[in-house]
């Protein structure tokens, strides 16, 4: 059990690195959106959501690690899947 928790923590810390990149990239996309285009509205909503979810996940890992609790695999996995879906939607829009 201990080994699983440690493994989750190691994975979580790597995921945080990726999330920081995702958050930064989505912020860049938000600055480059052409507001005069109709599709800009959808891009804005999708990438702002990505930014917010990435922020929430980074905060979650930071908070849980700081308080010494174990990181939940389910919220982490669910968040990653949601982000992937939104990124795919962002490309599709």
């Amino acid at each position: 059990m201990e080994a699983v928790t440690e493994q989750t923590e190691r994975v979580a810390l790597r995921v945080v690195g990726l999330l920081v990149i995702v958050g930064f990239a989505s912020s860049v996309v938000l600055w480059t959106i052409d507001t005069s285009l109709a599709s800009g509205e959808s891009l804005f909503a999708v990438y702002l959501s990505i930014d917010l979810i990435a922020f929430a996940m980074i905060s979650y890992v930071y908070r849980v690690t700081k308080t010494g609790d174990s990181i939940g695999r389910v919220p982490l996995l669910a968040g990653c899947i949601l982000l992937l879906l939104l990124l795919a939607a962002g490309f599709a829009v």
Partner: protein, 521 residues
């Protein structure tokens, strides 16, 4: 340390000290308010780990929704013109010409809906876990007033686009207010309608929506936050087993709890953005009296349950005042809940009566809302209403009784004043005996009495309305007397049964020998 000693240590007030009578009376009043408002308490104390739970922060999420509305509303204010001639065209301009205008309006609307829903969930959660008990009575009342202000936001904001749907619905609301008794009716009419012209009404609604109500809400919010700081979050009421030490550990407000709240806010914001993207708002046609005649007036979903009550045939004409009186009684009872539910325990297992009443309230509101949505503009026959609402109450009461029988039968009961923090007394009687005594026949009799009461209430209302509209006539008086007798029998029987039930659970405080005929320990 006893409760009194604890309060004394916090406030420095000792009622036993020698002092003149008037000073002691004043000190008592100051102490009562200090114990509830926390004027002398230490601020920004660490919070327990068990408060890292979304159910503890439903109110905070409603505040986040309010903040989003503030930002989106401020942007819309740049373009919006509050006159009957330009309200719709300026809204349409935001929709079509302003970048992300439609999205902005959609987010504004959905966060308003979320705010109302979160406020309702926050209220009901606090009702079920009974956080309104001492010393949080004023927090509950402040929260209730904030809830009314939130509904006020919905009511005033709905008119502003000046669509045929919003104007017709608001006219219905204003018409309902005219049926209220004087001087309340006159005051509300003056406050929101003014001279009665369309331009006066929309300007007042706009003023209330963007200046008065946000100001009032912010003031109340500051007060409520202050009281929350003073009393801390309420302890959980999960059961008789004390919480593990890990859950009771204190964490600092900053950064730990702040980060958690930011997580919640970020997820809520993302959800609102995605919902707004998936279901964009469509603007209804502009209001014209001709077009309004073709639409069935219907308020927005959060007022539908009240509107559905007013649509019951019983309340047509002079009965409208009776219906509004009934709705007002519900609201007043909710505000005064801390003074009605005087029991010392917060545990759900020991509060079957209040939990069942709460469940019936939620059930009736849900049924009336859905029913109102599917029957726009239709008058509901009184018998049908009595059947649907009575059946809802009966079914929920049955389910609740059954759930209590199954879930809490092995749990120790007693009067724990502070939820799970206090370990159960080893001498506490076990609920198994109580639910053996208050077995199926008790639940069945209770249901019969509830049915009798429902018919009695609807019959009494019918009789009262007929008395008002047709004058004093013998058949009406006979029918009214019969209905009142039904209510009396139902109330007396219910009190008796509840007493026997409390006798079974061992939570009875004042024994009445006459009620205990045939009772065996």
């Amino acid at each position: 340390m006893s409760e009194q000693e604890e309060e004394k240590a916090q406030s420095g007030y000792d009622p036993s000290e020698e002092a003149p009578t008037h000073e002691r009376a004043l000190a008592k009043v100051v102490h009562w308010f200090d114990a509830r408002l926390g004027l002398s308490y230490e601020m920004l104390r660490p919070a327990p780990t068990y408060s890292v739970n979304p159910f503890y922060w439903l109110g905070a999420l409603a505040v986040v929704a309010f903040a989003i509305q503030g930002v989106t509303g401020a942007i819309m204010m740049i373009y919006y013109i509050p006159t009957p001639l330009q309200a719709y065209s300026s809204t349409l301009f935001i929709f079509k010409n302003v970048s992300y205008g439609r999205f902005l309006e959609t987010v504004h609307l959905y966060t308003a809906y979320a705010m109302i829903m979160l406020a309702f969930m926050h209220m009901m959660r606090n009702y079920f876990v009974s956080t309104n008990k001492k010393p949080r009575e004023l927090m509950w009342i402040t929260g209730m007033v904030m809830g009314f202000v939130t509904l006020g936001f919905g009511f005033t904001g709905y008119l502003l686009p000046w669509t045929v749907v919003s104007k017709s619905a608001t006219d219905v609301g204003i018409g309902m207010m005219a049926a209220l008794p004087q001087p309340l009716s006159g005051f509300i009419q003056f406050l929101i309608v003014g001279g009665g012209t369309d331009s006066g009404t929309i300007l007042r609604f706009y003023d209330l929506h963007v200046v008065v109500l946000p100001g009032v809400l912010l003031l109340l919010l500051v007060g409520k936050m202050y009281m929350l700081e003073a009393h801390g979050v309420s302890e959980p009421v999960a059961g008789p087993i004390p919480l593990p030490e890990k859950k009771r550990r204190l964490i600092p407000i900053f950064p730990d709890l702040t980060i958690y709240l930011l997580e919640l806010a970020a997820m809520f914001g993302a959800a609102m953005l995605l919902i707004s993207l998936a279901f964009p708002l469509n603007l209804a046609p502009e209001y014209t009296p001709t077009l309004a005649a073709q639409y069935a007036s219907q308020p927005d979903w959060y007022f539908l349950w009240i509107y559905q009550i007013l649509k019951i045939s019983l309340f047509e004409g002079p009965g409208l005042t009776v219906a509004l009186g009934l709705v007002s009684v519900v609201f007043v009872a909710l505000v005064l809940l801390p003074f009605l539910d005087r029991g010392t325990t917060r545990r759900i297992a020991s509060r079957m009566r209040w939990v069942t009443i709460g469940l019936i309230f939620v059930g009736e509101v849900a049924v009336l809302t859905v029913w109102g949505y599917v029957t726009p503009g239709a008058i509901i026959p009184a018998e049908q209403a009595a059947l649907v609402l009575g059946a809802t109450a009966i079914i929920i009461a049955l389910v609740s009784a059954g759930a209590y029988k199954v879930i809490f039968r092995k749990m120790p009961v007693g009067t724990l004043s502070s939820g799970a923090q206090s370990p159960a007394s080893p001498a506490a009687p076990y609920a198994t005996r109580s639910f053996n005594t208050a077995s199926l026949w008790t639940a069945t009799t209770f249901v019969v009495l509830l049915t009798l009461g429902t018919f009695g209430i609807s019959g009494s209302i019918n009789g009262a309305v007929q008395l008002i509209s047709q004058g004093t006539r013998l058949p009406i008086l006979q029918s009214l007397s019969l209905s009142l007798a039904e209510i009396a029998v139902a109330v007396a029987g219910t009190v008796y049964l509840l007493y026997r039930l409390d006798l079974g659970t061992g939570s009875i405080k004042r024994r009445v020998k006459a009620f205990e005929v045939g009772w065996k320990q």
